[in-house]
């Protein structure tokens, strides 16, 4: 079997985003999703620092450092986009107006708990940003991550050992080996890369997984 590349993962997430969706893409891996959104669908990207209708990066030399995304990269505004202040921006999120939020993660539990803001190491300087607001605010929260750590441990877990970002907030997990729905009933395998079996996936994760 061949794990998906990060770009393949991004393309797969993008494929699942419907026309007209309001979407927030988290910092890091989720940002790649923007590169694969289908050209024939209008999808509205929100950035929590105060814009809706975020467009692609500007051409080099065209950057406007007062037009940036949450990762502090220069972006553009689509025709029809608009600006707003931080309280309104997080009202969009917390108030359930965003359809889909895509986040990276250290760990996700089979019940949808998310850990993505703090490794829990004693000397780490904590920084949360908008992670907790994003996790619990959107109608659906997707996670994108490699399924296994470099040491081979599953990041999809029965119970998160890292400090939590939010409880029962993730609905779907896109990994390089499989896609899972998570929630009250535990994890269900939606899709797997070719050549991977459900039994092998159970062995890799150490979890009781049900098939879709």
């Amino acid at each position: 079997m061949t794990p998906m590349t990060r770009d393949q993962m991004a393309a797969r997430v993008a494929r699942d985003i419907p026309e007209g969706a309001y979407v927030n893409l988290g910092i890091g891996l989720p940002t790649k999703v923007a590169n694969y959104l289908p050209q024939d669908r209008e999808i509205l990207l929100q950035s929590e620092n105060g814009l809706l209708g975020m467009g692609p990066a500007p051409a080099p030399g065209e950057e406007d450092w007062e037009l940036i995304n949450a990762g502090k990269q220069a972006v553009t505004l689509l025709t029809g986009g608009c600006y707003f202040h931080h309280a309104d921006s997080f009202a969009m999120m917390r108030g359930g107006h965003i359809d889909i939020c895509v986040l990276g993660a250290f760990q996700v539990s089979v019940h949808g708990d998310l850990a993505n803001w703090h490794t829990g190491e004693p000397d780490a300087i904590p920084a949360v940003g908008g992670a907790m607001d994003l996790a619990i605010g959107a109608k659906q929260t997707f996670v994108m991550m490699e399924l296994l750590t470099k040491a081979g441990q599953s990041k999809l877990v029965g119970r998160c050992s890292y400090p939590l970002t939010g409880l029962a907030c993730v609905s779907r997990v896109y990994t390089d080996l499989a896609i899972f729905d998570v929630g009250a009933d535990g994890a269900r395998v939606v899709d797997m890369v070719d050549g991977l079996s459900l039994d092998e996936l159970r062995r890799l994760t150490g979890l009781t997984l049900t098939a879709a």
Partner: protein
């Protein structure tokens, strides 16, 4: 292509159901979505809970909705006016329930709903009849009343111009409750004087970002 515009006011209100909660914008007649209300009356559904600053003036708008017997309950700040006779009659007959809310608490509770807050401690109303039976708390030496968000199934609002993504700008004091009601309703429906091409509204001056608007209909300038 995302296109939230609909052709007629009847289309705009076609999914409003019996027993729905409906926020209606406007302060007096400024910002009152009169044509959407007329369409709602024509649609014939009843048992509605209406959230509006007032309880109708004269013969049109919310007053006409009340006159037609479609309103079970009204949540408002100022029902009694010189020309609120349709409300007065129904209220005195015990045919309409009234929840009276101080105007600023009404606005704050609607905003809290749109912003996903669970409750707010507000100083307004503390020690008055309107806080009777409500939880209170002294915080840093000041007294507050706990008030809960007001959500609604629908919001009917009036704006000046809008585009197919639902971005809205308003006109003068007709803005009033429109932006916060759009945020607090499951389905926000705007009547606008003019639908303009995408990009015509200044992105710095959009008052209601399209994310808060599910449907809009051009009705032309109204009186």
């Amino acid at each position: 292509m995302v296109d939230k515009t609909v052709a007629t006011v009847d289309d705009a209100v076609a999914d409003i159901f019996d027993g729905a909660s409906v926020m209606i914008g406007g302060f007096g007649t400024a910002g009152m979505p009169d044509q959407l209300i007329d369409a709602l009356i024509a649609r014939g559904v009843g048992d509605l809970t209406i959230i509006n600053n007032n309880a109708g003036n004269g013969e049109s708008g919310v007053a006409a909705l009340i006159k037609a017997g479609r309103v079970r309950k009204i949540i408002c700040s100022f029902p009694r006016q010189s020309d609120s006779h349709h409300f007065d009659a129904r209220y005195r007959a015990g045919e309409i329930e009234l929840e009276l809310v101080p105007q600023g608490n009404l606005a704050a509770r609607i905003q809290a709903a749109g912003a996903g807050l669970g409750a707010i401690f507000t100083p307004t109303g503390f020690g008055t009849l309107l806080a009777e039976g409500k939880e209170t708390r002294n915080i840093d030496g000041r007294d507050y009343v706990l008030e809960y968000p007001i959500h609604a199934d629908f919001a009917l609002i009036k704006a000046h111009r809008g585009d197919r993504w639902g971005n809205l700008v308003y006109r003068k004091t007709a803005r009033n409750f429109g932006p916060i009601m759009a945020m607090a309703a499951e389905t926000a429906i705007a009547q606008v004087s003019q639908i303009v091409p995408l990009g015509e509204l200044d992105p710095e001056a959009v008052i209601t970002p399209g994310i808060f608007v599910q449907r809009l209909v051009q009705t032309g300038a109204s009186a």
